[in-house]
């Protein structure tokens, strides 16, 4: 099985094909007017006609069709832009963890990245790849070629999450690397200090990048399904702790929820899309829901 087929199954493609990730950013940037959009001189390509309805812009009415049919039709266009996406992948040891799911957090993130990569390339947007642990380890320049998807996936497939990580430092490096306003899609379990990470995310936003933060946790990390006495070991630091899982569950769930809440709140304020995920969710469905929600916001 090729790398692309492994991570990008046909049903996933069907699910996300109709979604227009790029357009949301265009519209969002245009409406918000927070900063100069690099996309305002976009070209248009005719897509289809549809009946005019109240609320449509009258300038979109196709007068030629009106002349022929005596009915109002508006023209629909497929947007075309030069938005550049970067998939930023956490390579920390903890990303290789799963308790009882088929996919590790890393695999899950690759699947997500593959889907997004496919989506962007399919819409002729260049996509690049950056991986990091304590610093940036690999990078692929953004390209919009169809064959680039294979390059991205083969690189990801050959990576193994190991070692410690420094998300904040790596993201600052990413911000320094990017010259133009881009769409930065970060895949990480964020199991590190909150403050520095958030600062680096602000830095990215300040540089004009759109950021989607995919917070990927294992199902066990979200629901804490252990029972009885367990001894838990942190894979990166080898720190161990014995505890009664049943007695500790509610405290743990409170902690996780408050951690996610904190990110959710801060990201909302920073204009970052925060997408909390766990490996028990079907990633295609999770991604679909997220993109639909985005279109709803747009």
């Amino acid at each position: 099985m090729s790398t692309a087929e492994k991570y990008l199954k046909p049903e996933v493609i069907r699910q996300i094909k109709r979604l227009d990730l790029r357009a949301q950013f265009i519209v969002k940037g245009f409406l918000q007017g927070l900063h100069a959009s690099p996309f305002h001189g976009f070209s248009v390509e005719f897509s289809e006609h549809r009946k005019y309805t109240s609320g449509d812009d009258p300038k979109d009415i196709d007068w030629l069709v009106y002349a022929k049919t005596d009915k109002y039709y508006v023209k629909k266009f497929e947007a075309e832009t030069n938005i550049t996406g970067y998939l930023v992948m956490d390579l920390s040891r903890s990303m290789g963890y799963t308790y009882r799911q088929e996919l590790t957090k890393f695999d899950y993130s690759i699947c997500l990245a593959a889907a997004l990569c496919y989506l962007m390339i399919h819409q002729q947007d260049p996509v690049g790849l950056l991986t990091f642990d304590q610093k940036i380890r690999h990078s692929l320049r953004p390209k919009a070629r169809r064959s680039h998807l294979g390059d991205v996936l083969s690189l990801l497939a050959n990576l193994k999450p190991e070692g410690e990580t420094d998300i904040a430092h790596s993201l600052v490096q990413v911000a320094a690397m990017l010259r133009h306003a881009s769409l930065v899609m970060i895949f990480s379990d964020l199991l590190t200090e909150f403050g520095p990470v958030m600062e680096s995310l602000y830095r990215l936003r300040h540089d004009g990048h759109d950021v989607i933060l995919f917070h990927v946790l294992d199902e066990a990390e979200v629901f804490f399904p252990f029972e009885g006495m367990v001894e838990l070991e942190e894979p990166e630091t080898q720190q161990r702790m014995s505890l009664d899982a049943d007695g500790f569950r509610s405290s743990y769930l409170d902690e996780v929820e408050s951690f996610r809440d904190r990110y959710r709140r801060e990201c909302f304020q920073a204009g970052i899309d925060y997408v909390p995920l766990d490996t028990s969710m079907h990633f295609d469905r999770a991604l679909g829901e997220y993109l639909l929600r985005r279109s709803g916001q747009g």
Binding site: M229, E231, E233, E234, Q239, L243, F248
Partner: protein, 710 residues
């Protein structure tokens, strides 16, 4: 607390196992990789403490379960005041049966005594072999001893019957304790079969009961209640008579009360008198509503009784649970009106007015109902007056009499008659009264006249035991003696032997004295009762509302003629004493007792009293001798009220009676079995202990499962 298998307690050492496991071989938890450990670290300390607590709880449960199991397997038991040993060890057992008439209460076609006998026989069969057994009842004055064998004890129980003269149960327990103390068997048991009625357990005997039982160490006390919790009974209280010796002119008054326990109901009470053939004839009846807790008064009056002995009974018509208190028997002696000679100074009628009116009021005289026929004579004529026809002679404020007259009076008295002397102002010179002839009658030499002109002296009886004072007994504090002051009285000296003081003044000096003279008696009053208030009287006794003095005069007269000291009505068990005189003295008599029993009573001719001790049956007794014209005397025997009272003690009252003494109250065979078993072996704690062990083990499993879930 004792243990059946004491050695098994050593098994509690096994609690070391979970402690060792806990300390050394603690089970290792499953090791797992978990990146999100940082979320746990924050609450780690709280979690660790909880973990340690759980470990400790689990350890405690396990060690507790082992210790409890060892404890339970050692078969612990708690004892209640009994010597140790197995249940089959021989005992020294006293079985006390309440044999009072109350136990004849019939319920579900069985008397309480029969119920007690049934239980007693069953219990007898339960006693271990080689036991020493004594069967006691509440019969008064019976000597008790251990039965020689179980068969004899069984026979004794079977032959038990109620007795009229029953003593209280605490007294019977005291007897049982004395007997049990003689036994060498270490284990002692007292079984008390009772209906728990108040009469059997007098409150005043609680201390004595506790003291006696405390003398026996490790003695099991079992109170076996054979009573009926809510009895229904109608009964009559003791019958009170207007007098036991009446004159043929008097009306006999009978007073009693109808009592009720249980349900109220209308009842008929009838009076029956025995005729010459000793057959009861109904004379009167009364209907009244018996109400629980209330006493309904019943009164009968019978007039026209001929001289002789009359017997009868008052009974409730119909039947109820307890027949013993449905009938009350009585006997009265009716005599012709007594002739009393009243001798006084001139004018005798004036002096004697108060006494004659007190003894035979004009109203009664006109109706022919006066108890006494009073003849008045002047003191000077006393020498010529034949005295034998009088039952008594009264000298009112006598002047000095000739020695022959004093001797005549002494002879008269010594033949069994009565003489009363009321000393007054005329007793001067005193020498004539201090002569030997006068001193044969008087209760001492006249010393001086004591004067108390302030009026602060009055009669003040100290004790009311004397028959003369009997009417004052019910109202001791209510007699207004101080309204009748005494200003003068004679102080007496050298009172002869056998003289007793009947009545005193409030300064302690004697007012009325009694001495016996031969077969008769003489009364001396140291102040007169014939003084008119207009002549510097010695006292105001007969002045105004003088009813105390009238009663006193009547009682003195009745005492002199022998009407107040004769008793014909007794309680069962009391010794009956019948007065005899020359006319009735015989060498032998025939006593006809209730139940058609008759037996001869030998007597001595010179004895003037006949004593009969066989009074353990209630009913009317008749004593006869000499055929139809001979002696015909009688007396009645009744149950004392407390012998037939059915109201029951509450459990609290019974507990108060026993105080610190441990006892067990049982009503059924199962309860008796359980109590005796608990008393001998103690209460077995094995079942509850095993239950607790099971609970602890379940809890341990629950906690452990929750703790070590895979």
């Amino acid at each position: 607390m004792t243990f059946l298998h004491f050695s098994l307690l050593a098994g509690s050492a096994l609690i070391a196992v979970p402690i060792i496991l806990h300390l050394v071989m603690r089970r290792k938890p499953t090791l797992m990789e978990f990146p999100a450990l940082r979320f746990i670290q924050k609450r780690r300390d709280v979690n660790q403490r909880r973990l340690q607590l759980r470990h400790l709880l689990l350890l405690l449960l396990r060690t507790g379960a082992i210790a409890l199991l060892a404890f339970a397997l050692a078969r612990p038991s708690i004892k209640f005041g009994m010597a140790g040993g197995s249940q089959e060890a021989p005992v020294a057992a006293a079985m006390i049966f309440d044999a009072s008439p109350r136990m004849e209460y019939r319920h579900e076609n069985q008397t309480r005594l029969e119920a007690a006998q049934d239980l007693g026989l069953w219990l007898l069969a339960q006693l271990p072999g080689q036991s020493e057994i004594v069967v006691l009842d509440t019969r008064l004055g019976t000597a008790a001893a251990f039965q020689p064998d179980r068969g004899a004890a069984k026979e004794r129980i079977t032959r038990l019957e109620s007795v009229a003269n029953s003593t209280s149960l605490p007294a019977a327990v005291a007897g049982a304790v004395n007997l049990l103390k003689q036994s060498r068997l270490p284990r002692k048991e007292i079984y008390i079969f009772t209906d728990l009625s108040r009469g059997a357990w007098p409150e005043g005997q609680a201390a004595s009961l506790q003291r006696h039982v405390a003398e026996l160490k490790d003695c099991g006390i079992y109170v076996i209640d054979v009573g009926v919790s809510k009895p229904t009974d109608y009964g009559l209280n003791e019958v009170r008579l207007s007098g036991e010796v009446l004159s043929n002119r008097s009306t006999l008054k009978l007073t009693t009360e109808l009592s009720c326990v249980g349900a109220p109901a209308p009842r008929v009470v009838e009076l029956q008198m025995l005729d010459a053939d000793r057959k009861p004839r109904k004379r009167s009846e009364q209907s009244c509503e018996a109400i629980p807790g209330e006493l309904q008064p019943i009164d009968f009056r019978v007039g026209g009784l001929e001289p002789g002995t009359h017997q009868g009974l008052v009974r409730i018509v119909g039947q109820d649970g307890l027949a013993a208190d449905d009938v009350r028997y009585f006997t009265v002696a009716v005599k012709p009106a007594w002739r009393v000679l009243v001798a006084a100074p001139k004018p005798a009628e004036n002096h004697a007015l108060f006494v004659t009116e007190a003894l035979a009021p004009a109203v009664y005289r006109k109706r022919g109902q006066a108890r006494y026929d009073c003849d008045i004579c002047e003191l000077e004529k006393l020498a010529t007056r034949p005295l034998e026809e009088y039952a008594a002679v009264c000298l009112l404020d006598p002047t000095p009499l000739k020695p022959a007259v004093w001797k005549k009076l002494a002879d008269y008295a010594s033949e069994g008659h009565g003489v009363a002397v009321f000393l007054g102002r005329n007793a001067l010179p005193v020498e004539s009264f201090n002569k030997p002839q006068a001193q044969d009658i008087l209760a001492g030499k006249l010393l001086r006249q004591a004067r108390r002109p302030d009026g602060d002296l009055h009669l003040a009886p100290r004790g009311l035991q004397h028959p003369i004072l009997a009417p004052f007994r019910g109202q001791a504090g209510a007699i207004p003696w101080e309204m009748f002051p005494v200003f003068r009285y004679w102080e007496l000296d050298q009172t002869p032997k056998g003289t007793s003081v009947v009545l005193q003044y409030n300064d302690g000096r004697p007012a009325v004295l009694e001495r016996s003279v031969g077969r008769g008696l003489a009364l001396t009053m140291t102040t007169p009762i014939s003084d008119r208030p207009n002549r510097k009287p010695w006292n105001l006794l007969p002045v105004g509302e003088a009813w105390p003095c009238m009663i006193l005069a009547n009682q003195m007269a009745a005492y002199l003629v022998g009407g107040s000291e004769q008793q014909f009505n007794y309680f069962a068990g009391q010794t009956a004493v019948l007065q005899l005189d020359d006319a009735t003295a015989r060498r032998g008599y025939m006593l006809f007792a209730p139940g058609d029993l008759s037996f001869p009573i030998p007597a001595e001719l010179n004895r003037r009293e006949l004593t009969i001790t066989a009074t353990d049956r209630v009913g009317n007794y008749r004593l006869q001798a000499g055929g139809a014209d001979g002696v015909d005397l009688g007396f009645s025997v009744n149950y004392a009220s407390e012998q037939t009272r059915l109201d029951r003690l509450t459990d609290q009252e019974l507990a108060a009676l026993f105080g610190p003494i441990q006892y067990r109250l049982a009503r059924t065979r199962q309860q008796i079995n359980r109590d005796i078993s608990a008393g001998r072996v103690g209460r077995d704690l094995f079942p509850p202990m095993i239950l607790i062990v099971a609970l602890v083990l379940s809890l341990e499993m629950l906690v452990a499962n929750r703790f070590y879930k895979e």
